[in-house]
């Protein structure tokens, strides 16, 4: 794997995406704690860097499939914050008209094709998106996100095999946050590194610090270029940590305190901000301006979500099939 050095503009773009994800997450949790919103919410706080660094390498034409912990992936790929918030609030103006919620976010015009609530199921679908691109002779790539727990389900193995046999333009991104729901990595996974499983399918397996934007960018660029040139799939294991448990309300008693404290101390977000300033990729004023602009964007998103109407009851009859059911 080569190390690529993104230019300052790209680095700042990664920061902008991380900020959007972090601020949105903080605000959603705040709204839930204040009782303004209620939902099954799987926070990706701590994992911002992974989709931010990948998505600066993608276009709207590229496809993305993700899982219930996927708000960060969707925001980075371009799901507008307003439509996200309205969907989380279960409003008619949400991206899915309030019919999907946090586990089924979809926004095809930015390539956000499917969010699944079923562990492992993003990967077979990604193979199909890749197959469509391959048959049509397009240069699109598909990003399939999933967690470390999903690498133990059959769909992972079937998908890597199928993608390898058919040389599909799919990048399998395992966001290894080290806990499968409440079960620690080593209790459920036979290998030291999930990326080692790529060997079984004769495809590259890249193990990378997912909280390091440059390492993540480099791995993603390597895999995306391979996929775009028709050489086939790559498995990326991006090491990370989730700060807010499996689901909001999970107190994380199963995580050793020292492990949690160390992970929070290594929070990639403030670390990256400091690095950008130290290396003079951006000025404090630049970053402050981004923070403020995003705060305004989230303010607007929240206001839009709160002021939007709920879906009409007739909607349960619509979108079951192409026609409205009786």
């Amino acid at each position: 794997m080569n190390t690529y050095q993104p230019d300052s503009e790209t680095l700042v773009d990664i920061y902008r995406k991380m900020t959007l994800i972090k601020q949105s997450d903080d605000r959603v949790i705040g709204a839930m704690k204040a009782g303004r919103m209620r939902m099954p919410y799987y926070s990706a706080r701590g994992q911002e860097c992974i989709p931010a660094a990948i998505s600066v390498l993608l276009t709207d034409e590229d496809y993305l499939v993700t899982i219930y912990r996927g708000v960060h992936d969707m925001l980075a790929k371009g799901l507008p914050a307003k439509l996200l918030w309205a969907e989380l609030a279960g409003k008619a103006t949400g991206s899915c008209k309030g019919k999907g919620g946090p586990m089924h976010l979809t926004y095809p015009s930015k390539g956000c094709m499917v969010t699944t609530g079923i562990v492992g199921s993003s990967m077979p679908i990604a193979c199909g998106l890749g197959l469509a691109s391959q048959l049509r002779g397009e240069k699109r790539v598909t990003i399939a996100n999933f967690g470390d727990g999903a690498s133990n389900i059959g769909a992972f193995h079937e998908s890597l095999n199928l993608a390898a046999v058919w040389k599909l333009p799919v990048i399998f991104v395992c966001q290894n946050n080290q806990y499968a729901e409440h079960t620690s990595y080593s209790k459920g996974t036979s290998v030291a590194k999930i990326s080692d499983r790529a060997v079984s399918y004769c495809i590259p397996g890249l193990h990378v610090d997912g909280n390091d934007p440059i390492a993540m960018y480099s791995a993603a660029k390597t895999a995306i270029e391979r996929a775009r040139s028709g050489e086939g799939p790559t498995l990326i294991e991006a090491m990370t940590f989730r700060f807010n448990g499996h689901l909001i309300g999970d107190m994380g008693e199963y995580i050793p305190k020292a492990e949690y404290a160390a992970a929070v101390a290594a929070d990639p977000y403030p670390k990256y901000r400091s690095w950008l300033l130290e290396t003079k990729q951006a000025s404090e004023a630049d970053l402050d301006a981004i923070d403020l602009a995003i705060r305004a964007e989230i303010d607007e998103a929240e206001a839009f979500a709160m002021s939007s109407p709920p879906p009409d009851a007739i909607e349960v009859k619509r979108d079951v099939y192409a026609y409205e059911i009786a």
């Binding site: 899915c96 019919k99 077979p124 079951v320 059911i325």
Partner: protein, 332 residues
Amino acid sequence: MSTETKAPANINLIQALNWALHDAMEADENVIVFGEEVADPEGGGVVKISSGLSTKYGSRVRSTPISEMGFMGAAVGAAVVGMKPVVEIMLMNFVAVCMDQITNHAAKLRFMSGGQTHVPMVIRTMTGSGIQNGGQHSDFLEAWFCHTPGIKVVMPSNPVDGYGLLRSAIDDPDPVLFVEHLKSYFAPGIAPERGSKIPLGKARIHKAGTDVTVIGYSRSMLDIPPVAAKLQAEGISCEVIDLRTVSPLDMETILTSVKKTGRVVVVHEAVKSFGVGAEISARIHEALFKELKAPVQRVASNDSPVPYAPPLEAAFLYSHADIEAAIRRTLA
């Protein structure tokens, strides 16, 4: 099997479905076919329904690894971006290993995305008892899918319907489970007119009658007509309905017939309990309770796994005598 070939008067369901796939692939380049052994080097499908397709259409037709969850999900993904996959699950019991992709994804993505995506795919599969395939290669599991909003279930009984329904299933904007019956494959029938499509959700009056409505689909349409013919000789007039599409049910055709006859027998090979017959019976009772002259009767298979030994297989499946007895019960 080009379209220029002059159609013979009689063909079987295998040939009809092969024609439908050839014609659909010719008509729309988004139609793709995959499943285990479907390409010509692997045999063109276990009963050769996809014969000739890979030779003509190349990479649009692929034999897959034995990996139903993987390739079913691939069909979902391809369909979401406008391909029209026709995937083959070799035997219906194998849907159990890929149910997640069918029921959690194919059937629900349109709804969960608020209509932003939809899944225009067809799942072809075959099944049926009577050839000693035992408990994991013979089941009729259509009720599982009829109980899943978002997917349609089509079950043809003859070559004309098979051709026309498969063409419509491929055109349909929503996922369709297309269930074929092993014994029906080889029964000769009138050849379909190529290009002639049959709308989904419309039953067919196989034989008009006045005394008892007998409703079947798939395999039971091989068994009902001889019983109806026998009773006709006694002056008992059966109206025989072939549902063709099991979900959504064509209640208009069913209720119109029942208003006339006041008596109903439903016949299917699937096991009896919690099945399609129960749903049809319930709907008829809800709509026409006061017009019924007898309780709706169900004729179906024994509530057990499909057995292996021929005498047990025979005891598992309903008999012609069971159909006859059920019809007579409605007249008692």
